[in-house]
Amino acid sequence: MAENIITVENAVKKFKETTALNDVTINFEKGKIHGIIGRNGSGKTVLFKCICGFMQLTSGQIAVDGKIIGKDTDVPKNVGAIIEAPGFLPNYSGFRNLKLLAVINKKINDEKIKETMKIVGLDPESKKRVSKYSLGMRQRLGIAQAIMENPDILILDEPMNGLDNKGVEDIRKLLLNLKDEGKTIILASHSSEDIELLCDTVHEMDAGILKTVKLNENN
């Protein structure tokens, strides 16, 4: 039987007059890529922030790997994420930026950081400051920070933003490889091609209401 790694039950998030999440219930199965589509402001990012523990739900609950966010744990363990624009120290190189994040948990060494940078197509030996990076390079660095500690769950909000065609192709391959390794990926994208090629399940968010669009048998 398929195992659900993230369960969202009757999630409601209200901001004064606006309801960003309106009774959302969904289970994300382990080891698959789940696509979330929807217009800007439909509630995708709010859902991601709630899963990451950055926002508290008004009602309902979210459990990641069996632990209820805000009750059993404040932020989920073993999750890598890109939500909105990834931020880095502009005066530091990409490698030093990743190292600053890696020293918090001390799960990985310098070699693993360098290896991850190479995987996303960045030169780990480059002394170039992040302030000099192009949008695409910053996005690649953002993806590197999300995957470098080998988390079981990846929450990626528009990870292809700013990437050129080659970059998009690279990241698609990377995500499929990560899926093959057993990672669970939740991906928000405006690109129907990304969704079609990558996702096992697709859900559409519209004005805070989430509905399953399809279960992609091809993937």
């Binding site: 922030k49 990451c52 523990g53 950055f54 926002m55 508290q56 805000g70 744990t73 404040d74 932020v75 999750v79 890598g80 994420a81 939500i83 909105e84 624009a85 990834p86 931020g87 880095f88 120290l89 502009p90 005066n91 530091y92 600053l100 994040l101 020293v103 918090i104 948990n105 920070q145 500690e149």
Partner: protein, 290 residues
Amino acid sequence: MDKVKEVVTLCNLNFRKWFSSTRIKIILLLVVLLIYNNFSGVRLFAAAANVNVTPWGLPFLLSNFNNLIIIMFGYVFLYCNAPFIDEQKPYVILRSGRKIFSAAQILYIFVSSLIYAIFLAVATIVCSLPRVEFSPKWGKVFKTLAITSEGSQFNVALPVTEKITLNFTPIEAMVKQLLLLWLIGCFLGFLIFALNMHFPRFVGIGAASLFIFLDMFADFFRISHGFFSNRIYSFSPISWANLTIQKCNPAEMLPTFTYQCTVLLMVIAILVFIILLSFRKETIEVIPQI
């Protein structure tokens, strides 16, 4: 032990951002200019008298309310971005958890407030160069400026007051001054932090500014209402950075050093408690950094 290291690591992350922060550079530059201006007359006076200045000028600098206000606004600008959640921090919180992160921000305020206070003390010494002489006494320059009007010939802007030279030894004055500056900086930082978590940033900055202007109001109130109005200083924590507003003899209706430290420590403890409690549930919102 690992958690302590994690807190220190995250705290250090905030300090790394000082190097790329224009705001921090502007604060330090303004403060140095203020101190330089205050000490230029002292340097001229010392050169004319051919004597050296002792490095105990900080308590005098803060005994003028104009200087005090500018220096206190340094703290406000230092902490205006509290709780210091820039675009990088959500990824930090995802790794550290909320408790470690909030503890690190609290540690950052404690340490940075102390650094700012020490920076002020060091800047007063640097701005007295080259005529600086280490001595456990106030020295001829400050003693003379405190009891005579000689300073006016050299446009000495530094308000050297006899109350300080009479009632405190230099070491005692410096220790008390640094301790009070540190605690007041922490108070302002935690006040802004606690308010910024729940309200738009201008509320936190506004509340801290109100406390600073309360010092100015207290000065006007004392001048216009006389002796008993000194009691108002018991409710103006920013004024406590001025050692002339400290009870030195039983007849004065001013707050004592013990009262000042006790109140500041209690308020800081309450604010830290509120921050730790609130941060558990607060939305992690990226605040555009000033």
